[in-house]
């Protein structure tokens, strides 16, 4: 049975089992490889996408659970105001090292910023502690989120 899912404003019909995690549909069926696989168990955040604006682990989100929801991935997050600010701050602070975790980091950070324009350190910890960075870019992630928040505050 084909399932219809809405991703980045487009509706895709995919012919997979209902319980297939969204991650594999994105990466292997639709070829959107910006969303990464890290653990498959909601432990690392590499696969983070936004579902109706909420940061969500696509590795445990089955396609049949999506219904009418809007999925946003790293490929399109730059067209949201928070996403654009986060990406800009990420470049400014040169956050990525190997870069593999960064799609997920950016998806979590832009969901945070969209919901909370002035996150405290504790807010950042809460929103970002589900995203592992094996390269240890945490210091710069924190700084970049604060920079993005500042630019948001200035109407940036």
């Amino acid at each position: 049975m084909a399932v219809a899912i809405k991703i980045n404003g487009n509706t895709h019909s995919v012919d997979v089992d209902d319980d297939t995690p969204l991650l594999w549909v994105l990466r292997d069926v639709l070829g959107m490889t910006g969303t990464k696989f890290g653990c498959g168990m909601a432990l690392c955040g590499a696969c983070t996408v936004q579902i109706d604006g909420v940061a969500t682990r696509s590795c445990i989100t089955t396609v049949d659970s999506l219904g009418e929801s809007e999925v946003t991935t790293i490929e399109a997050i730059g067209s949201t105001p928070a996403g654009a600010k986060i990406q800009k701050a990420w470049l400014e602070h040169e956050v990525p090292q190997c870069g593999y975790c960064q799609s997920g980091q950016i998806m979590s950070a832009s969901a945070l910023l969209a919901a909370n324009p002035n996150p405290t350190d504790a807010d950042i910890d809460d929103a970002m502690s589900g995203n592992i960075c094996r390269c240890g870019t945490y210091v710069r992630i924190r700084a970049a989120i604060k920079l993005a928040a500042q630019s948001a505050g200035n109407g940036g």
Binding site: K36, Q87, L91, E94, C98, Q102, C135, G136, Y138, I141
Partner: protein, 732 residues
């Protein structure tokens, strides 16, 4: 000075670098097809220098091409793993060539063991913090040589003395007449100019790029999802496979029932190997579901009852008998006899997995008489050679495409994944991408060896160490990975950080006992030898300071009169950390000092130990002298990275075996430091004009003893077995 200055300064790595090694870079110029100037450049190494002189020919291993638009293309033998190599090495050329950095473009080096050997490793590999150390002089020389040929071509065109011309911003300028020509216009003529010998390199004070914080060139694609890692490749018709390898090392498949797996929607095929099974499907979701539906019975083989304790016991035993002498200075036994105080300790370090964020993967298209491979790897020539063997094809029939690496840390210096993928692909008609689940990745790694170390020291009446003895046992990765590198019972990796301490130790004796654990494979792990040795030596120095009832910084400082660079970083770290100021109850500061990979580093860690024994790393202050800091921006990032990596190991890292199986499976049982646990990190980089040292791995080795020493300061409990065990640190 030459690039190996920093390395040989204290005798480090000498066994890989023959004394008569010529450091002159060989350069050759030619015209490019379709116009342009090509400089082929030879980075000499112990191995391929010999080979080159044998053949009496010239073997380039890096190529610089300047085209008719003045754009510069660089083919180089190093891969980008997040350490900023792709930015720092172009900086070297741009600096001497007098072009802006955005004119320099990188092209991937094809796998060729002879052409692209890294001069320090002798084989084509990026590891060991060595990219910048290998490239520092030859790449600048190449840039300067090209610049002089361009100047010569312009001078000839204008019939003026080349000495009256200068190069700037991609142009040659003749100030007297105001004439100028772009490099693009000059490349054709420049190709016919003689290659000048002994070009003068810029002095440090005239650098315009080197030493400036430069943005990395590879960042933009990593923030918008377009960067392509090995796991992202999609050759037409590719199928996705996942695999299960024998849970016990050395076991094999006894029986297999794949009926239920083949019934899963999207599953195409089940591949049975001698010691592994793979499910091939349209997508990873189906492959994983198919894998769960498989009924595999394993024959566990002879290691079915192996446990970590057995291995530790064997290593302990191994340190009771003499090993190969790695260093001997003075007369340790005599000095020990005259010591007023004796201190003894033994230390243990666990097996560790690499767990890069990008799980192991490799894509292979096996065709009748050739084989195409897509991978992200630190040693692609090794991949090509081993894949060819697995494929039963000559090496030239194996085409390897290298990609960005989602974390290497030593894991991707290995070709086991490519071999596995070839074995599977041989039974599949289409291209197949083999993706390890995280569980497979952690349970079938090549692990940082388990180490057992036995140390003793004798102190005089002032508490100074007059005798130092160290005997340690563990696996030699080099003996497997690069057999000629293991000689007379020693290899330079296993002993780095143990035999070349910064301290004044007049009677010093170190032995290494190679002891291979049964079944469990071992591999390079970020910072390799020092990740083990610096923990041990810096913990032991701390124990000596405690035995002498002296402050850990003051104690170290008194032993550094012959090592001013070490003393300077120690002083700086202590000062910036506020060493000596009081901390609340349950908190403590610990220091570490090292000279490894050609760089000096001191760290001060501040920890807080809760009543239940859990440790919080609050703050790390790091002072570093890494010679000329080529790109301070990436150096800072690399050190932060190394500290988090090492702190993860110190607080959580441990792979254990039970019944022949690795007990850890995913990030719940093999924990990573997360942002809420990350310390504040301050990095202070010393100004220097010495040749650059390594930095990608230095932060990792220094933080582990700094944390252990801080825990001692906070609790009075000395950690001699890592990782930190909250059970030992609990207070009533």
């Amino acid at each position: 000075m030459t690039i190996d200055h920093a390395l040989t300064e204290r005798g480090s790595r000498q066994s890989l670098l023959p004394a008569n090694l010529s450091r002159r870079s060989f350069l050759k110029a030619s015209a490019a097809i379709g116009g342009g100037l090509v400089l082929s450049l030879h980075l000499p190494s112990s191995r391929n220098t010999a080979r080159a002189s044998e053949a009496a020919g010239f073997e380039p291993n890096a190529i610089i091409r300047i085209d008719g638009n003045g754009e510069v293309f660089l083919t180089m033998p190093y891969v980008e793993m997040g350490q900023g190599t792709y930015t720092a090495i172009p900086m070297l050329i741009a600096e001497e060539l007098e072009v802006s950095l955005d004119k320099v473009h990188l092209e991937h080096a094809p796998p060729n063991e002879q052409f692209y050997a890294n001069p320090l490793l002798g084989v084509q590999a990026t590891g060991n913090s060595n990219a910048m150390r290998g490239a520092w002089k030859p790449m600048r020389e190449a840039g300067a040589t090209a610049r002089m040929m361009l100047v010569a071509a312009a001078a000839k065109e204008w019939s003026v003395d080349p000495g009256t011309c200068r190069a700037q911003g991609g142009e040659v300028i003749h100030d007297e007449t105001g004439k100028r020509l772009t490099y693009g216009a000059l490349v054709g003529a420049a190709a016919n100019m003689p290659v000048q010998k002994d070009v003068a390199l810029k002095s440090a004070d005239s650098f315009t790029l080197i030493g400036k914080p430069i943005k990395r060139l590879d960042t933009p694609t990593k923030v918008n999802g377009t960067a392509i890692y090995g796991i992202d490749v999609r050759p037409p018709g590719v199928k996705i496979a996942t695999l299960a390898q024998s849970p016990v090392f050395g076991g094999r498949v006894k029986s297999l029932d794949d009926a239920a797996a083949l019934a899963v929607k999207g599953v195409r095929q089940v591949v049975r190997l001698d010691d592994a099974v793979a499910v091939v499907a349209d997508h990873m979701g189906a492959a994983k579901k198919g894998m769960e539906a498989l009924q595999i019975e394993w024959d566990d083989g002879q290691h079915a009852s192996l446990a970590t304790e057995d291995i530790a016991r064997e290593l302990d035993k191994a340190t009771m008998s003499p090993g190969a002498v790695a260093q001997n200075i003075g007369d340790v036994d005599k000095a020990m006899g005259s010591a007023v105080t004796r201190v003894e300790a033994s230390y243990q370090l666990p097996f560790l997995a690499h767990a890069p964020m990008e799980p192991m993967n490799c894509t292979v298209h096996f065709r009748k008489d050739e084989c195409e491979i897509w991978i992200g790897n630190q040693a692609i020539a090794r991949v090509q050679a081993m894949a060819a063997q697995a494929a039963g094809l000559p090496q030239e029939k194996v085409i390897v495409h290298n990609h960005l690496i989602g974390g290497g840390f030593g894991r991707r210096l290995e070709a086991d994944g490519a071999v596995r993928a070839v074995e599977i692909a041989k039974q599949v008609d289409s291209p197949v991408k083999v993706v390890w689940t995280r569980e497979e990745d952690i349970q079938h790694d090549l692990y940082r060896p388990y180490w057992f170390d036995r140390l003793s020291a004798g102190l005089d009446d002032k508490g100074r160490p007059i005798a130092w003895k160290n005997r340690f046992a563990g696996s030699s990765v080099i003996a497997r990975w690069l057999p000629p590198g293991f000689k007379d019972g020693l290899d330079p990796d296993s002993t780095e950080g143990a035999i070349d301490l910064v301290y004044d130790l007049p009677n010093f004796h170190v032995e290494y006992v190679r002891a291979e654990p049964p079944a469990i494979p071992t591999g390079f792990w970020r910072s390799v030898g020092p990740s083990h040795n610096v923990f041990v030596t810096e913990s032991f120095v701390d124990e000596l300071a405690a035995a002498a009832k002296q402050d850990p910084v003051a104690y170290r400082r008194a032993l550094l009169d012959k090592s001013p660079r070490a003393k300077a970083v120690l002083d700086l770290a202590a000062e910036k950390a506020g060493w000596g100021s009081t901390l609340p109850e349950g908190s403590g500061r610990g220091v570490s000092l090292q000279f490894v990979f050609g760089s000096y580093m001191a760290q001060v860690a501040e920890v807080e130990v809760a009543k239940d024994g859990t440790v919080q790393l609050r703050r790390v202050v790091c002072a570093m002298d890494c010679g000329t800091p080529v790109n301070p921006n990436t150096i800072e990032a690399q050190i932060q990275s190394g500290i988090i990596f090492g702190a993860t190991a110190a607080l959580y890292g441990e792979i254990t075996l039970k019944n022949g199986r690795v007990e850890q499976t995913n990030f719940d049982s093999y924990q990573m430091l997360r942002i809420n646990e990350a310390p504040a990190i301050e990095v202070h980089i010393m100004a220097s004009t010495e040749p650059p040292g390594g930095m990608g791995e230095t932060g990792t080795s220094a933080i582990v003893p700094a944390i252990a020493n801080a825990i001692y300061a906070a609790t009075g409990t000395r950690l001699r077995k890592m990782p930190a065990n909250p059970g030992l640190l609990k207070r009533a």
